[in-house]
């Protein structure tokens, strides 16, 4: 666990360094993923959800095209919307473009990484790798910590 977290930090540092050293290049190397977290699951029948902030530190717009993880057969970015009558619905969000210098927040009640068809239960205290694929063909992998079922954010 400690080792995994250290790896995440190293990855974040690496991404930042790469992003700073090559500011002119637009691409997934300019992506910084922060505050990733998810909730533990009960077994494997229910879908899981993961949250994070994806920041584009580059000078060109980037498009997040898909997700991959050994944890789930069908990971997909979904969006929850609540209409004026208070009815919430959820649907695939499609591709998400992040303008240069901007970030996209995947957070409860909005965008989230929906983890459908879990291969194994999500256990509190563990982490899992989640790969974000971008339109330039690049990929960024983050280790997502699994918090308790009742977690409200990356700190709880």
């Amino acid at each position: 666990m400690v080792k995994k977290l250290r790896y995440t930090n190293a990855l974040a540092v690496l991404l930042t360094v790469v992003g700073l050293s090559a500011p002119a290049l637009a691409g997934s190397e300019d992506v910084v993923v922060e505050n990733a977290w998810s909730r533990a699951s009960i077994g494997v029948n229910r879908p899981g959800a993961a949250y994070m902030t994806v920041r584009n530190t580059g000078e060109d717009a980037l498009t997040l095209t898909g997700l991959a993880t050994p944890l789930a057969v069908m990971p997909q970015i979904h969006e929850t919307k609540t209409n004026s009558d208070g009815v919430s619905s959820m649907a695939p969000a499609g591709e998400i473009t992040i303008e240069p210098g901007q970030s996209v927040a995947l957070e409860p009640g909005g965008l989230h990484a929906m983890l459908m068809k879990l291969q194994e239960p999500m256990i509190e205290g563990e982490t899992f790798p989640l790969t974000l694929a971008f339109s330039d063909g690049g990929e960024v992998t983050v280790e997502v910590p699994i918090l308790g079922i009742a977690a409200r954010g990356p700190e709880s």
Binding site: I42, N45, A49, T82, G86, V87, P108, G109, M116, I149
Partner: protein, 208 residues
């Protein structure tokens, strides 16, 4: 000459009728129509449904009258909104501490096919102990939703499964079962706790 006047009057008449019809539609069925009072949840005493809580007890609207009550709809296969609502409510109850001890909190599933009594028991066990999970036959769930003026709909998903669209608001009733207010899904937490206090104080005022 004469004929041209008739045509002109006729056209003006048709125009006036169309305008009146249009105005009538706007007022009655269109965006100008007043919100029907029927969209407000009924008092608990006017509702009728029979469900089972996560400990196997028979429950209904009568079970919660007598104490302030918080009710919301959801389902345990919901990855985003429902765990968020349940953990928000758990946080509000923690903030209220002893104040909330006399409150009923019911989480009614809109997906009874998957949310059996056992599934509800396991799920609510992860949240504040005051939260009770209610499930039951589909027709009784539908009657409950009707009383709260809540809606739900089964939506197929890509992977061959399904998800549920549903009303995500939290309903607050006083001890007599009258609706006090609703907490909308995206309302900041600092608004929620005072609203719950209002439901709790209305009870105190009613009792004295």
């Amino acid at each position: 000459m004469q004929r041209r006047h008739v045509v002109q009057y006729g056209a003006a008449g048709v125009g006036a009728v169309a305008l009146m019809l249009g105005f009538g539609w706007w007022r009655v069925d269109g965006p100008g129509a007043p919100k029907p009072a029927s969209q407000r949840p009924l008092p608990l005493s006017a509702m009728e449904f029979r469900l089972t809580d996560h400990e196997g007890n028979e429950v209904g609207p009568g079970t919660v009258i007598g104490r302030p009550t918080m009710v919301f709809f959801g389902f345990t296969y919901c990855p985003d909104v429902c765990p968020t609502t349940l953990s928000d409510i758990s946080g509000w109850l923690e903030d209220l501490g002893d104040e909330a001890a006399q409150m009923n909190v019911a989480f009614i599933t809109v997906d009874p096919a998957r949310d059996t009594v056992d599934a509800m028991a396991e799920y609510v066990g992860y949240f504040h102990p005051a939260i009770r999970g209610w499930t039951g036959p589909e027709d009784q769930i539908a009657r409950a939703a009707e009383g709260f003026r809540a809606s739900f709909e089964r939506v197929p998903t890509e992977g061959g499964g399904y998800t549920m669209n549903h009303t995500a608001s939290v309903f607050l009733f006083d001890a007599e079962g009258e609706l006090v207010t609703m907490i909308d899904y995206h309302e900041p937490r600092e608004f929620a706790v005072p609203k719950i206090r209002r439901a709790l104080t209305e009870d105190v005022e009613g009792a004295t």
